[in-house]
């Protein structure tokens, strides 16, 4: 059944700071960068900062994993006169595009008119995400994981990747192809952190951090801020750009995935998956669409194997066939044809978390908006539908389909 809120709201403004290598954004502060992203998003939408009356966060309103956003503090900083919606999805980055659904909930409930979704990230030495699981103080729950020395998200996900290789014959060559295909999309992007073309030899020479994963299978560690503004369709028509219509959006997941790699209790086939099957099925049911109908897929790529597993969970290929799908070149973007390769759907035309920047998922939303507006740097010809995902991570993970107006 079609979603009751289908095509009722739209993203009308996007704003971002520069992207900095981890720690290099200092002496800027979190609220400084957040403010720049919000003000730029307002300018992009053609509205005043005074019009903002809602905040829909994710990651438990985290700014990175140790700092927190506070709506009152943002009002004090930026001067919004009233806020009538202030809410967050729980857990971490998996909720990123799901926050647009939360914004839609606030808008359709007539709580608010213009909602900001936001992430700002500053990884000073004491705030580094790459070792977040290892540096956390022990608690009764993580005492069943931390002593194993799985110190970072990449170490944890290497265990999932290993199981996928065991069950389906998946190869490290496929992980390498994901990294190279993503890198091929950043040479023309001024803000991208990694722009140099990447050869297979360079990938193979990348140091092994958590076998089977190499340094280049891990995403960037960057600083920066990104904000987007969601509003109702009637208001969207008065904004500066063509609206990026919210066509379907879901967050959540199933118990078999649960805390995922913070737990490792998932049974097959969930263990060697992205945990996205539940929200994928929901957005396909909400929209009546399928993976093949997407013009571009912006898949959360904190670690290369998780792109492969999402391709399976969303149905771009069958479960266990991600290796062959990727190695057939099907996630590549063909710039000359402004489309896919070998019948595939281009993935992460912006360079993703692996090569452009890691702002905990927000850059994927920005690229989705630009694709359906028709203003992307690596534009898909006549792009109508863009898929955006958040996670794999502990639940909730989330999924969003943006549609051109």
């Amino acid at each position: 059944m079609a979603w009751a809120n289908q095509d009722k709201t739209a993203i009308v403004g996007v704003g971002a700071t520069d992207y900095y290598v981890r720690g290099k954004s200092w002496p800027r502060t979190i609220n400084d960068m957040a403010g720049e992203a919000i003000l730029k998003a307002c300018a992009d939408a053609g509205i005043s900062i005074k019009d903002i009356d809602g905040f829909a966060y994710y990651s438990t309103a985290g700014a990175g994993y140790l700092d927190k956003f506070d709506t009152a503090s943002l009002m004090e900083t930026l001067g919004m006169p009233n806020i009538s919606f202030s809410a967050t999805l729980t857990s971490g980055g998996g909720g990123c595009p799901g926050a647009i659904g939360l914004a839609t909930a606030g808008l359709m409930n007539e709580d608010c008119k213009y909602v900001v979704t936001l992430m700002a990230l500053q990884q000073l030495p004491q705030h580094r995400l790459g070792v977040v699981f290892g540096s956390a103080a022990p608690n009764p729950e993580n005492s069943f994981l931390q002593p194993s020395g799985l110190v970072g998200p990449g170490h944890l996900m290497s265990v999932l990747a290993r199981r996928h290789m065991h069950l389906y014959g998946t190869t490290q060559d496929a992980f390498g192809e994901i990294v190279m295909a993503t890198r091929a999309n950043t040479h023309n992007r001024p803000k991208a952190v990694r722009k140099a073309p990447l050869t297979k030899e360079e990938y193979d020479a990348s140091v092994m951090l958590a076998d089977p994963l190499r340094r280049l299978d891990f995403c960037l560690e960057t600083d920066g801020a990104v904000a987007v503004i969601t509003t109702t369709m009637d208001r969207a028509k008065d904004c500066r750009h063509k609206p990026a219509v919210v066509h379907a959006c879901a967050h959540g997941g199933q118990r078999e995935w649960g805390r995922a790699f913070a737990w490792m209790g998932m049974l097959d086939p969930h263990f060697a998956s992205s945990g996205h099957k539940f929200t994928a099925d929901r957005i396909w049911a909400q929209s009546g669409l399928a993976a093949k109908d997407m013009d571009v897929a912006l898949l959360y790529d904190h670690f290369s194997p998780m792109v492969l597993m999402q391709l399976e969970d969303y149905g771009f290929c069958e479960k266990g066939e991600g290796n062959d799908y990727v190695l057939a070149g099907k996630i590549r973007y063909d710039a000359a044809a402004q489309g896919g390769v070998n019948g595939g759907v281009p993935v992460n035309t912006h360079g993703g978390n692996l090569s452009e920047a890691y702002i905990i998922g927000m850059t994927h939303i920005v690229e989705g908006v630009e694709q359906v507006r028709g203003t992307a740097i690596n534009q898909i010809k006549d792009a109508e539908f863009a898929l955006v995902s958040g996670g794999p991570a502990s639940l909730p993970v989330s999924s969003l389909i943006l549609r051109s107006a």
Binding site: V131, P140, E141, S143, Q146, V159, L160, R162, R255
Partner: protein, 146 residues
């Protein structure tokens, strides 16, 4: 094809670098470990195993639990090979494993394995519990190749 990396012996992370905390739900597991008994949290009502221990059985909602002594053997479900000691960043070969515990279907532990080279660890490998003394007098279940 690349040659598999030869890592050499898989070592256990030093116990003096490891600290845990407990709560009333998890403490019986760690108290049993102190006595070198491997256990898992089992619902006393329906027999379902759950790890880490939690206040309710997710199957039948019972709060009653048993702590059966398990055989101490397990099977490697998956693993990673790591090469830096997380405590100090120095070169150190260790293999975090996720194991299925014999005698407790559905219950898993995350630990290190020793008694073989890192490159020889494989999914399906049988292991037996090996006790590691850690901070504050607690004892951690690790594993050795069977």
């Amino acid at each position: 094809m690349r040659e598999p990396i030869q890592y050499g012996p898989a070592k256990l992370l030093p116990g003096e670098e490891i600290r845990i905390t407990t709560n009333p739900n998890t403490e019986p597991f760690w108290e049993a470990a102190k006595a070198h008994k491997l256990t898992a949290c089992q619902c006393a009502q329906c027999g379902h195993f759950r790890m880490p221990p939690s206040p309710y059985c997710p199957e039948c909602s019972s709060r009653e639990v048993d702590w059966p002594t398990l055989p101490g053997t397990a099977t490697v479900f998956s693993f990673a090979v790591c090469n830096k000691n997380p405590a100090n960043g120095e070169d150190f070969i260790y293999v975090p494993i996720v194991v299925d515990l014999d005698g407790a279907p559905g219950a898993r532990l995350n630990a290190n394995v020793t008694g073989c080279n890192a490159e020889d660890v494989h999914i399906g490998m049988k292991v037996t519990v090996e006790w590691t003394e850690i901070q504050d007098g607690w004892v951690l279940p690790n594993f050795r190749k069977a």
